[in-house]
Symmetry: C2
Subunit: 226 residues, 2 copies
């Protein structure tokens, strides 16, 4: 990891892309969780979802500060990721409360794993910022408990939600590919540089295996087959 | 102001009502601001509205803690205020982005003024908690700037939004009357007690005058006639 990453304009462009993507992702997560809160079955569920939404938004301030420190406009940094992230949400609009919960859990987990993999290639400060921004484990218990109880009450729910989890994973991968094809700085970041670690094709393959395994673990925690 | 308000069950019941009402009000404010954020015209506006929403939600934790300290279940404390506060929002559903902004500004201001008036009758700890929970002045500049610019661009907007402001005030008063009729402990709180200050009818009248005056000031700040 380079000591003065700010001296490499390609590296800075990639970090700006990454932070912009995470920031826009958290902003839309806020929006969708808040929407789910509005349709929550009880006041207690409403508050739990609203807390998850606020936690997502809470990370935005520090991401935007860092973007400004890097000389970028936060809104310009987010803009390239509006189309793919909005498309992800349009293609995965939950039909009910349980699909919302599974999406919050599985989608958030996938995003977190993916960004953490990339963060491992970055300078320490950026890595720490990303790790902090992705920390939202406090709310997992709420989702796991609700989904498991729903499956206990009606076993058919499990089959439907298992399919839903696969669809979320497929849509996430397809939008990630779209981003990879569009954003040269980001893909160059993955490949590494003279003084920076990177991933060759074999390493990329292993990364996708890890992401898939962790996705499967999350599905199991929810009581669903991946 | 009594030294040990916890010893008076009527007083505690009234405080639980008041904190429950404020908590549910902030929860719905969160929901509606988040909904407005979803339809914001630009990314910058979206972030500003999401920040306002998160700030409302941010107060909930301390209100709920205090409710628990008083021996109350926060969700039970909020429940009696669901119907009147939901009715307020149903009857004042904004038709567009500008109506949303005026509602956020005028509605928030009215609620803040009203709860502050009541807080003046309470013990210091409760009063401080309420004052902190209602502090959201940081976002006013955003709304004032947007509404004033819209009126400059098209003067007819001013007439429409002035009517909208009056409707918000009318609906708030009508729901407040509904609460006053339903919640004996709260109305008893307003009347005062042996060791507590209260308001007679003349004082209540002066309070409504103050609320109306401050509403008119807010409308003027937005460039609207009250």
């Amino acid at each position: 990891m380079t000591e003065s990453p700010a001296s490499d304009p390609e590296y800075v462009a990639a970090v700006v892309d990454l932070l912009g993507a995470i920031a826009y992702g958290e902003l839309t997560a806020f929006e969708h969780l808040a929407e789910d809160a509005a349709s929550a079955p009880t006041l207690r569920d409403k508050v739990a979802l609203a807390a998850m939404a606020s936690a997502e938004f809470g990370h935005l301030g520090r991401l935007n500060e860092r973007l400004e420190t890097l000389g970028a406009d936060p809104f310009e940094a987010m803009a390239p990721f509006q189309a793919p992230i909005d498309a992800f949400h349009e293609h995965t609009a939950p039909k009910d409360w349980l699909e919302s919960l599974v999406k919050a859990y599985v989608g958030d987990g996938l995003a977190r794993d993916f960004y953490r993999e990339i963060a491992a290639l970055l300078d320490v400060d950026t890595r720490d910022l990303i790790m902090e921004s992705l920390d939202s484990t406090a709310h997992s218990a709420f989702v796991v408990e609700h989904v498991r109880r729903a499956i206990e009450d009606d076993h058919r729910v499990g089959g439907r939600l298992a399919l839903w989890g696969r669809r979320l994973m497929g849509e996430a991968l397809s939008q990630a590919q779209r981003v990879a094809a569009d954003r040269d700085a980001l893909t160059a970041l993955l490949a590494g540089g003279v003084d920076r670690p990177g991933m060759d094709l074999a390493a990329l393959g292993r990364m996708f295996n890890r992401l898939t395994e962790r996705h499967a673990q999350r599905m199991t925690e929810l009581g669903l087959s991946a």
